[in-house]
Each structure stands twice: as structure tokens, then as C-alpha cells.
Symmetry: C2
Subunit: 206 residues, 2 copies
DNA sequence: TAAAATCATGAATAGAAATTCATTATTCAA
DNA sequence: TTGAATAATGAATTTCTATTCATGATTTTA
């Protein structure tokens, strides 16, 4: 795995035009990765899931790593743009936080493959972790903005250890998603957004 | 990987007496797993790190999976017994929570290999996730007790969505550890315990 | 001390799966 | 319509590494 994986052979057009087959393979890969994990998933499984021959994957992707990489990039981009839109729609810091968390939970609830894959596989890409648009990183930036605004508005404490507050919000949401996945995604995730934000805001002290 | 991995060949004595070599291999495996990840780590790397021949690993462990499994079991047990002791030393719920978080951060700060491995590899053991003594599960039980006690004492809100509160505390701590690992473990982790608990208790609202 | 039992070795084996590429099918342009 | 260009195929190749096991070293026992 190296950074060159980012650049595929001769399929730039396909990517731009979002070729049917390209997206099909990406989605199929998502299913298979989510079910078996990146390392146990095989090219043959992905190909078969996509209804194409093994060799066909190599017309669209440089190698197996590249498939995961592009999957993560694609999902990061689309989720994050929706998150940013959600935040922008909020009137004040608290409202923005609520919309962000709700969007986050909703996006992952609606794409369980993605939830499973983000929960684990991202970690293995230590080498290129800084190269891909890491959703965590963008997320923390969004949270920074919200917290700063909240402090200006006077609705969030001035003495906040912001770096820590960001981590604990993100961690809380991720852990809630994680346990939803682990529990077989049987309950409604999005409806946990408001209770969760209430906890973030007011803490557990009686 | 299957549940039989739990039972090794003929080395029950070795385990009981904590044979030098057994522990040596386990530690070496920890280093290698932490550096390369379970799947990319090879038996040869572990053997070489431990200063033994490849075949020797199979005298002490059933297979590669078994090495990780025993590593996780060993670490879970030892960390958790210290966590429980920390909690028991607390006088009231809030004190217990502080001690737990401090212990958690301190344990992981003092064993970075473990921190890295728990951060990622545990996820791949979906099949046996319920079999191993998952530190998260035990942790959540500890938190349950603390929250219940806090509610009885009146220092924690009666209307807490406890299942959520537990998740968000664990998530917060894990995410703080995660970013400490990611940042190259350059700062003091344990000293974040009190600020973090303050956040849990009082939230971010101004 | 010497035979037996145990432990360790690492080259050889075996199996799995990623990747390639000669061949075939399809699409496109004139 | 037909030849060229492009896309797809999947069997064969290559690579990689977990695991085995015949051999040798060491320790134990009597």
C-alpha cells in the first residue's frame, strides 16, 4: 500500500462520469468489506458480488487497497458535505451541534456498511491516514467552529478545554454508533441525537 | 479462527507458571501487532522479535489468531483488575469515576502497544467478540454501578439516559486515548483525567 | 553417565488469494 | 457493414506466509 494507490491506471473518465460499473464495484466492495473485513474479503467475493470477473476490478482500481481507499474517500466526501450543510443550517451554536449530531447519526444509520467500515478499517491505513480526507479531522474542525461560536454567544463555557471537549463529543457519538452496529442495528439511531446532545451540554451531575 | 483457538495444545503448565518464553513471545507479538497490525504482522517477525524460531511459536500457541486472543485476554484481565481496584478505592460515585478514568488513561499510557491494539484489532474478532472478556463490556458494567450509586447519593441526575451516558463516557475516554496514540503519544495522558471527568459531570453549557 | 523425554529449530510444504494477460466480446466510427 | 478501439473475461501465474515436521539440542531421570 502506498500513496500511488490513489492514482489509477486509465480510468479517469470513468471516475468523473461515475460510471455505473465503477460505482457498482465500490458498493459491492462496501458490502463485502463490511461483512468480512478488509483483509478477509477477497477480490473474487467483491467481483462476484458486483457480477463481474475478477480481472475487471483491475480496470477500475489499481489494487485491492485502492478499492478501500476510494470507498473511504467517496464516503467521506459525501457525508461530510452533508454534515457541513447541516451545520450551516443551524441558527446558533447549540442548534448547529444538534443538527450535526443528528446528521451524523442519520448518515450512518442509513448506510450500515459505511458505519461498519469506518468503525474499524480506517485504522489500518496509518501510512496514508493523513492523506485521505479523514472524516474525524474534518469533524473536529466543525466542532471547533461550533464551540467557538458558542463561547462568543455565551451559551458555552469560556473555560472549556476545547481540544478535549471536541474529542469527547466525537468519541461519544462514535461509541453510540459502534454499539448500535454491535447490537445488530435494531433500534433507531437518529432519535438518540437529542438525548446525546443534552448530555454533552449539561453533563451527568445532578 | 474459531473458539477452539482458546485451547492450546499441551502447554497448560507453561501458562500457569508464566514461562519466560511464553510471556516473551506475547510481548513481542504485542510490539509487532502494534506496529504492523494483526494481518500484516508475520509469524517470522514475531519470532524474530522474540529471538526464537518460527516453529517455536507453535509450541506455545495454537496459531496466529491464538496469539492475539491470548494477548487480549491477558491484557484485559490485568487492566480490568486494576480498574476494579481503583473503583473500589473511591469513597463516592464521583470519586470512583475519577479514579476509574485516571486508571484507564494511566494503564494505556503505560502500555502503548496495548493502546494501539485495543484501538483497532479487537474489532476483527466479531465471531468471538462475545467470548473474550471484552474490556468494554466490563467497563460499561463498572460505569453502571457508578452511575447507580451516584443517583442514590443524589450527585448524579435521576433522569439520566444511563445506557447513553455510559457510552458517551467510554467513547470520550477512548477517543482521547486514540488521539493521544495518533499524535505520537507525546503529551501526558493521565493528566487529562480530571478535565475529562469535569466535562462528563458538568457538560459544555455555559 | 546414558537413555529418555522434552524443547527448539528452520527449511520445506501447502494453501490461499492478489494480480496478470492472452483471448474473447462489445462498442464505436466511418 | 466492418475494421479498429475499447472493455471484459477468468484461467494461469506469482507471491506470500502460516504451518508442519524431520532433525538436532537440551534437560531430566534413574
Amino acid at each position: 500500500m502506498n500513496i500511488n494507490s490513489l492514482f489509477k491506471k486509465g480510468n479517469f473518465d470513468l471516475q468523473k462520469t461515475k460510471s455505473e460499473k465503477y460505482n457498482n464495484i465500490l458498493n459491492s466492495a462496501g458490502h463485502v468489506f463490511a461483512e468480512y473485513g478488509f483483509h478477509k474479503a477477497t477480490i473474487s467475493q467483491i467481483a462476484s458480488q458486483a457480477g463481474v470477473a475478477d480481472g475487471t476490478l483491475y480496470l477500475y482500481f489499481k489494487n485491492k487497497d485502492d478499492i478501500l481507499l476510494q470507498y473511504l474517500n467517496f464516503k467521506s466526501d459525501s457525508v461530510f458535505s452533508r454534515m457541513r450543510a447541516a451545520v450551516e443550517a443551524g441558527k446558533n451554536a447549540e442548534d448547529k451541534l444538534r443538527r450535526l449530531i443528528r446528521c451524523h447519526l442519520s448518515e450512518f444509520q442509513n448506510d450500515k456498511d459505511m458505519a461498519v467500515i469506518f468503525r474499524s478499517e480506517v485504522r489500518h491505513f496509518r501510512d496514508i491516514e493523513t492523506q485521505i480526507k479523514d472524516i474525524s479531522k474534518m469533524y473536529l474542525e466543525l466542532l471547533s467552529e461550533i464551540i467557538e461560536q458558542g463561547q462568543i454567544e455565551g451559551t458555552m463555557r469560556q473555560d472549556l478545554f476545547a481540544a478535549l471537549a471536541k474529542r469527547y463529543i466525537l468519541g461519544g457519538v462514535e461509541n453510540v454508533i459502534s454499539s448500535w452496529v454491535f447490537a445488530g442495528s435494531r433500534y433507531d439511531l437518529e432519535s438518540l441525537a437529542d438525548p446525546l446532545v443534552d448530555l454533552f451540554l449539561t453533563g451527568i451531575r445532578g
